[in-house]
Symmetry: C2
Subunit: 288 residues, 2 copies
């Protein structure tokens, strides 16, 4: 069995190879800058683990894994823009628009979203209808009824008091759907049935929520050095968070409760789920 | 044989139906606003004409046609942003960010690019590997080696003197590639061979250039009322255009020369190319 770190190394290698292969034009450099800024690579690692769980290989699943990470990266570039969250720091480094300017950052984000889909379509070309179905899972999770809509709601929640349901709905869309797609798309690619697909989707949504709650907690308790971005932003921007709604202790409890539900889903699967469980725990116990 | 206007009506109807079906959430409204702002629908109409030319139907080709128009629309929304061209008017109406704010305009653009690809992937799911190949043609034309790169070069050309080759390279990428894809993708979907694919690609690139030269001419000679956007922007922004490089008369000649080359390509095809030729002429003779 692979160590969790091994997947991350494989993802990092593939992304480096890919983006270094794009040459050193300005657009390629702006895309590569954010794509290779590091990060936990949670989504692609989950995609690779899911692939192996459903009998596929890392090699076959890598294009989907990379596509998902590119979508995540583009969303961060656009989120950080002055018109959106206006962040100067991301993973301890200047944000894309701070380095390349606002216009380039918009275009680098556009190009990454586009590139991700080109990869997904290539995967569909190679793997036939299962590949196309997997591609569709990712594309739908990223778009109008997924991540982008979550971002819209997130903007609307700024400076006003959101309810718990509004907050959860926003996070399911903004974070949960793409994590769910990371688990479901490889399952689809390697022939999982509808029950297993649904289990992976549910697992991803719960994990996404737990992840977001943990994010809110870290925004309150962590430091800029550990986090690699400015903490306390939620409070200064007047954003409703789990911590502002429920306090630290209750938020920790909620995250743990969700992790328990994740374990329940994994136990219900007739697959080797040890690595995915390890991954769930790693996400909850992280400090950045 | 259909009239050219008939294709445009079909495209408009399909887009209206599609976007009205997305509900009235804020994101859907922002997407629909720009997608339904009118416009000449050149790319989707060319896609439908190409589809019929290669033995396909309007119905089968419509998802690709709509996807291409959505990609065009997203690019206009992002182009108009304050950080890019900073335009207040588009097709005689306030630009997306003027109506919905800058953050929403960024997200509406993202969602349209994403939606276009979801449509392309659905088309690949339905039509097998030919559908996936057609989808890839569109996706590649829109991205890092196509339209987005053209946009990057366009930004770089602002306020400096570009050479003819730089200008042409920029326009081939920014305008030509997506027009070429409008012609090539349906050809691929309906089984055109490599020679015919190449002919459609070449035709699209030449047509795109002729179109851009005409755009530059109209920016000099037309009025805001006819154009639906502010004319004279190229000159005030210090952008190199065909008109600034060669003057009006020579630019007109170049556009006509390119149109002649387009006719040559069409004559070399063993297909009924009458409608496509009509379309080429309509593009060159337009006054807005």
């Amino acid at each position: 069995m692979r160590e969790l770190d091994e997947y991350k190394v494989l993802v990092d290698q593939s992304l480096e190879e890919y983006f270094n292969g794009l040459g050193d034009g300005k657009l390629a450099r702006a895309m590569a800058y954010s794509a290779l800024l590091g990060g936990k690579r949670i989504r692609p690692v989950m995609a690779l683990i899911s692939a192996e769980m459903f009998g596929g290989s890392v090699e076959e699943a890598m294009p989907i894994a990379m596509a998902i990470e590119m979508i995540h990266t583009y969303s961060l570039i656009h989120d950080d823009l002055p018109a959106m969250d206006n962040d100067d720091l991301r993973r301890g480094k200047p944000t894309n628009h701070k380095v390349f300017g606002e216009a380039m950052a918009i275009l680098a984000g556009d190009a990454l979203l586009n590139e991700a889909h080109s990869l997904l379509i290539r995967s569909a070309l190679k793997s036939g209808s299962r590949g196309a179905e997997a591609a569709l899972v990712v594309s739908l999770a990223a778009g109008r009824e997924g991540m982008v809509e979550g971002q819209v709601r997130d903007l609307e929640n700024e400076g006003r008091a959101a309810s718990f349901d509004e907050l959860r709905g926003c996070h399911e869309l903004k974070t949960g759907m793409l994590i769910a797609a990371s688990l479901e798309a490889p399952a689809v690619l390697f022939g999982a049935g509808e029950d297993e697909r649904k289990a992976m989707r549910d697992l991803g949504l719960k994990l996404g929520l737990a992840f977001q709650i943990k994010d809110d907690i870290l925004d309150t308790t962590s430091t800029k050095e550990v986090l690699g971005k400015t903490p306390g932003k939620d409070e200064t921007s007047g954003k409703t968070t789990y911590v502002s709604l429920f306090g630290l202790e209750k938020s920790e409890e909620m995250a743990k409760g969700l992790t328990g539900e994740c374990l329940g889903i994994l136990k219900g699967l007739d697959r080797d789920t040890a690595q995915l469980w390890e991954m769930c725990l790693a996400l909850l116990q992280r400090n950045r």
